[in-house]
Symmetry: C2
Subunit: 121 residues, 2 copies
């Protein structure tokens, strides 16, 4: 039973749009991630995806309009709702959900997996 400093965990991430599992509780995973640029548009048909922004700014693009997140903002993407996170500069966030989303389901862009440079936003 140890506390987890979210900022420290986020600082140690090496790959954009990957999720690092920090804790498990009541069937949900608490994950930290960082992003820059955007993922692809995608849907989680079987789960809500909860974002809690830690630093930077994150735009959760929805087909119905954008939601602009600042640090300390919580946002739940309902299951079945298409979305596409977008960060003009590096954003760090906590994700809460029942499992680690796959690369495909999470919409992780191809450049993020090979250590490549993110395209300009």
């Amino acid at each position: 039973m140890e506390k987890i400093a979210l900022a420290v965990e986020a600082e140690e991430l090496t790959e954009f749009w990957s999720q690092r599992v920090l804790a498990r509780a009541n069937g949900n995973l608490f994950k930290v991630a960082k992003g820059i640029g955007s993922t692809t548009w995608h849907i989680h048909e079987d789960q809500e995806e909860t974002f809690l922004l830690l630093s930077g700014r994150l735009t959760v693009q929805l087909r119905t309009g954008d939601v602009e997140l600042e640090p300390g903002d919580l946002f739940v993407v309902p299951r079945g709702v298409e979305h596409c996170p977008l960060a003009a500069e590096e954003a760090r966030f906590l994700l809460v959900g029942p499992e680690v989303t796959s690369t495909a389901a999470g919409g992780k862009p191809a450049w993020s997996a090979d250590g490549g440079t993110p395209p300009s936003v």
Copy 2:
């Protein structure tokens, strides 16, 4: 689908150690609370209780020792583990768990329900 500013929600709380439900996702509730002084020692036999400190300092007292939380720290109290949160000054935090803990199960002190003044810590 709207974002939730945790600091704003915490600011609006009127009662210490009460929990305000902000969102539901994947069978879990996201709740905000504030505390000062301490609750009573208590156990949740059927659920983990996850704390994410937003402001102030919070000591999660355990029978095995204290865990000192600072803003941005995440801590999961495993089910069945006796604990007693303690805040020397007002602390605000996010709680994640499957339901709102009852007054008894949550260890909320008697003074918190009647608008009374918290005892000195």
